[in-house]
């Protein structure tokens, strides 16, 4: 019984949140890694691209809610995501036309592109604040819990509760679907193959007649879709506040680099590595250990490695360790 309680406490406070958070990071890291593989720069504007896509989705959700359309137990925002993706795609394609293409033609060094993307980040950030403001927005509706802690306790008779929110399940399911679709696209379709070829060897790809501008356009559209989906899932599961998306850039980059920049599979693995490390290292293990260990071994302290204030520091440390010992990441991506 005690062991079960330990497992449930672990699931409630570590496993479930980390899986949901890891899926959100994986989607973000996938987009970052795609841009790095094909456009060859680190896109710092990604966090704010997510915020912008989510913003449009939120506005569309409000529109749907006001005319009384809902998805029953599921959040209405799912219905509004295509609008957000369409808008974000137009926006990033426009940005590429106006800004990135100019520098790409000049074949500037990647670091200049990074600085350019930081400029774009500020513009996007300002745009979001101008339209929706800096405050948090609540757009989640539908059923909040799949199982609430109270129901779980009543059902099982355990003293620990396990809460699973609808949005957490939704995040994981959506992430699996999106990742499957993306891998199918990259491995099975002609456009996907041309993208991979372009990423592997630009000159060879050009020689074999691949249109580079087309590859870039398709990449941006995929990135817009990934950013909007990841942003909406994060906003539904947690809260939507433009500033927090800006802060997400750090763990997302850590995930992409840990997995190996340019490697889609690595991005997903990296997302979960970062999420589990962040949650597990800042979790106070006292409760779980008290249940799991025999009485004489029970800890009296909190058994917390790092205070939760240092959550972001965990991504930094992992980033530094990976860059020092395995610069190409876990899945042999490009070295930074």
């Amino acid at each position: 019984m005690d062991l079960l309680n330990a497992l449930v406490a672990f699931g409630n406070f570590v496993f479930v949140p980390a899986v949901a958070y890891g899926s959100q990071l994986a989607l973000g890291a996938l987009a970052v890694t795609l841009i790095y593989g094909i456009l060859r720069f680190s896109n710092f504007a990604h966090g704010d691209t997510m915020a912008l896509g989510t913003m449009v989705t939120i506005i569309a959700t409000w529109g749907l809610q006001s005319v009384g359309i809902s998805l029953g137990p599921l959040p209405t925002a799912l219905f509004a995501i295509p609008v957000g993706i369409a808008f974000t795609a137009v926006l990033v394609l426009g940005t590429d036309r106006l800004v990135y293409r100019f520098y790409r033609k000049q074949k500037v060094a990647p670091v200049i592109m990074v600085i350019v993307s930081i400029g774009v980040m500020f513009i996007y950030n300002g745009l979001t604040r101008l339209v929706l403001g800096p405050d948090d927005q609540n757009f989640a509706d539908g059923e909040r819990f799949l199982i609430s802690a109270r129901d779980f306790k009543a059902m099982t008779g355990l003293s620990e509760g396990l809460a699973i929110r609808t949005t957490q399940v939704l995040t994981v399911v959506t992430a699996i679907l999106v990742v499957a679709a993306l891998f199918w696209f990259l491995n099975r379709t002609r456009t996907g193959k041309s993208m991979r070829a372009y990423s592997d060897n630009e000159d060879l790809a050009l020689l074999s007649g691949i249109d580079p501008e087309r590859v870039v356009r398709v990449t941006w559209i995929i990135v817009a879709a990934l950013a909007t989906i990841a942003g909406v899932l994060y906003g539904l599961d947690k809260t939507y506040k433009p500033f927090t998306y800006f802060q997400l850039v750090l763990p997302i980059f850590a995930a992409a680099i840990v997995g190996g920049l340019g490697s889609p599979l690595g991005a997903i693995a990296g997302g979960f590595v970062i999420a589990f490390s962040e949650v597990a290292i800042t979790y106070a293990w006292k409760k779980v250990l008290v249940y799991a260990l025999p009485e004489p071994l029970e800890p009296s302290g909190l058994m917390q490695l790092l205070s939760t204030d240092y959550k972001f520091a965990v991504s930094f440390v992992i980033l530094v360790i990976v860059l020092l010992f395995r610069p190409t990441g876990l899945f042999k991506g490009k070295s930074v």
Binding site: P17, G161, E278, D309
Partner: protein, 398 residues
Amino acid sequence: MKKMLLATAVSALYAGGAFAAGHASEAKIGVILGFTGPIESLTPAMADSAEFAIKEVNESGQFLDGVTLVPVRGDSTCGDAAAGSAAAERLITADGVVAIMGADCSGVTGAILSNVALPNGVPMISPSATSPGLSTVEDNGLFFRTSPSDARQGEVLAGVLGTNGVTSVAVTYQNSDYGKGLSDSFIAAFEAAGGSITLSAPHEDNKADYSAEIAALASAGGDVLVVLGYADAGGKGMIQAASDTGAFDTFMLGDGMYGDALLADLGDVLEGSYGVVPWSEGEGTDKFNELATAAGIEAGSAYTRESYDAGALIALAMAKGGEVSSAAVAANVLDVANAPGEPILPGELGKALEIIKAGGDVDYVGATNVELIGPGEAAGTYRHYAIKGGAFETVEIR
């Protein structure tokens, strides 16, 4: 031509003299509040209330043989200590204010006090800075406040837990001067009363996700989670995360968590929780609400009563000292605020001035039952409320 010049010079001199004479019958009071920044929605009503008191004094015509008090506003920004100090410096050196009603937030108030008010010898009466640190700060007798210190609130919170029979709690506080000060004083009071704190952990505002913070607190355990933060920021997020994971069912809320929006946002999560908020009731409060509302001021807003009292105390202290000077205010605030003397309610400032002129004593009661204790701060009364049926219900005033 010479005569013409002379005449011009003489008339200029004369005009200058007249100007100076006009100045002598005017005394400027600085109103330094955060007109921009995190509490910009509260400050207009606070400034209006302070200026309402000053206007009342002027209209009575009893103030120091016809001296007119002129309020001058300055922006403390609430958060930016450098900008707040610069605004105070300007009011003192350029406008020549003799006393300051303000500032508002604890951090910026401390900065203005030590950087500007102390070197210039100008007294300050803050209506809303509640940090316990301001009780012990070096002030040369220049700093007063009409709001109670959070040291007092800590004791009240501990008392409320005692009433509810709770002996073991976890504490989370906003990572700021306010949150840290309040949690320190609460923990000291609660432990002195025999209670135990399982964990006291800070939280940052503006995070998307508080589940990690809640996980640590849940692991530590405790019957009640004490939330000392702000209702529209991290405090709300902490409560939401705690109820989502089933970590805590009952919460005790500090004064920053009081607001109808919180109840509306969190629904029945807060059912059965309780908290405290500074409160004043009685004849003076009613009188102020009636007068201020009639004058078109949003009287029910936070800290309006304290602001009115701060403005009134400056004027009365100056009258008691018999001159327009900073020293007169600093020396006489405690005298006019406390017994003995004739009790003075809002709207009776003219009567108070008459009594002072006749050499009598006044005991300013004002809108918040002003009683300045210790280093010149309000003793303060708090409302202990419980949340029942989606509404705040008063349990007692303590």
